[in-house]
Symmetry: C2
Subunit: 282 residues, 2 copies
């Protein structure tokens, strides 16, 4: 049995009439309601990775609500057969409603790029896109890992990751996409990003722990404390600081927290050192 | 100089207050205005590929408007250094505002899956995601190829494709993502889609042309008529018909058009045959 409710979040009225009239100036708005709010180990912006990675400590869950479907678990049927999913979300903490055409991404040392040439949250429509590893589905809840988004983020949509669609294809001599991607070298040559991406990604920091911090880690009773250490390394090696913090506040301690863990560290030229790891209760 | 305008399309007011109150029931809506409308070779749904592919005939362009930025070309600065882009768009022709939890994708022979387990346009928020090859940038216009979306589609956002973020990573022994993806076999094992995807993708049709259709192709004065033939093959081999058309209307001719070309064909069990190709003027 199909079920649905009348309070559908979509309201597209007027848009197509504006389109068919060809009157681009009379742009209509599209109203969307989140299908869910992410529950994530990252409670605040500080320390939330800039893009998703596979550190399994970075867990989150998305529960499809009963306000969307009478039986929300039906909307996820079949999804567990995919290894990864796309999450399309709202950057709800990106601040002012004032978008600039060019911005300075945090890791580009004051270099400016067009807002559509980067993944900055400060964009005309504050829509984010991230790939997550699908861990499991229980009832109407999707458990994911390797996420880079903050607790409470409004989720607009979830879609399965399908290599055939989501991985740039090489075109063979017949002009048809080659499904086997046999020649990985050719592929790498055809698919490329701007130089600044590679440069920024190569500039990872060395992450160290003081003896005290290592002791802290040992006293924390978590299932796999080794994973906890890996998760901290993963956050810090990519330098989570804003440009402002890096340039103007380099003498200040840096704090971040996830999963009831509060971390204190400091940054030197090309390293981050963890000073204290503390377990906090809610 | 940074430029911006006050008529920013984003309106997120009220959303964060609803979040912080923890009152999931009082879900606020997010209003978005398209940043542009796609101009595509596909003028109607019939024959528009279901997902993007690399046939270079499937071209389109996205022009960032002056209603968004005083100098819209600034918003694309740096984008030409990427080979591919994500286009986040509105499924503006997906019909009724009535979303079902389970749907029947066209190529699954009546099998039902959850709406979040497939890429159907009929979803709670009608947001689409597609990967396109970036051909060039001129002023404030992005020229793309390999697209699967229809002329006039409202575009919400454009983001660069970045392999490090958008390609599922393998986790090495240290729990850190391996940037080199040396072992492609291991990767394929870790990244997987539901069985029905592979099955559907393998069921491609044989595409034939009658002598008359081949003659038609020769008389059409296009720059590269060979590319035109490839484009027709690419559309038909993936069976563009809806389930309804396949089951109920198998005795009817099938028409589609793109790029001022109108194609007439028919389908038999596992083949499509092109009967007529006609050039039309606007």
């Amino acid at each position: 049995m199909e079920e649905s409710k009348e309070n559908n979040p979509v309201d597209c009225e007027g848009a197509s009439s504006s389109l068919s009239s060809g009157d681009i100036k009379s742009i209509k708005t599209y109203s969307m309601k989140p299908i869910a709010y992410l529950q994530s180990v990252f409670k605040e912006k500080n320390g939330t990775p800039r893009q998703s990675n596979t550190c399994s400590e970075f867990r989150g869950k998305i529960t499809i609500g009963k306000d969307l479907f009478t039986n929300p678990e039906h909307s996820l049927e079949g999804l567990s057969q995919f290894s990864h999913i796309w999450i399309i979300f709202i950057f709800h903490q990106s601040g002012s409603n004032f978008t600039k055409a060019k911005i300075k991404p945090p890791r580009l040392n004051n270099k400016k790029v067009g807002v559509f040439s980067c993944r900055s949250p400060h964009r005309p429509n504050p829509v984010g896109l991230t790939l997550a590893k699908l861990e499991s589905i229980e009832d109407s809840t999707i458990y994911v890992s390797g996420i880079d988004i903050i607790d409470g983020t409004p989720i607009l949509d979830v879609k399965p990751y399908i290599s055939d669609y989501d991985y740039p294809k090489i075109v063979n001599e017949l002009g048809l996409a080659d499904k086997n991607y046999v020649n990985e070298e050719a592929h790498t040559a055809e698919v490329h990003s701007a130089d600044w991406i590679a440069q920024a990604n190569n500039e990872s920091l060395t992450v160290r722990f003081t003896l005290r911090a290592l002791n802290d880690l040992e006293t924390i009773q978590v299932e796999e404390s080794n994973n906890l250490k890996k998760a901290i390394v993963e956050v810090l090696r990519n330098d989570p600081r804003s440009v402002y913090r890096r340039k103007q506040c380099c003498d200040r301690l840096y704090y971040f927290s996830f999963n009831q863990i509060h971390v204190t560290c400091w940054f030197d030229d090309d390293q981050a050192e963890v000073l204290k790891v503390k377990q906090v209760s809610n």
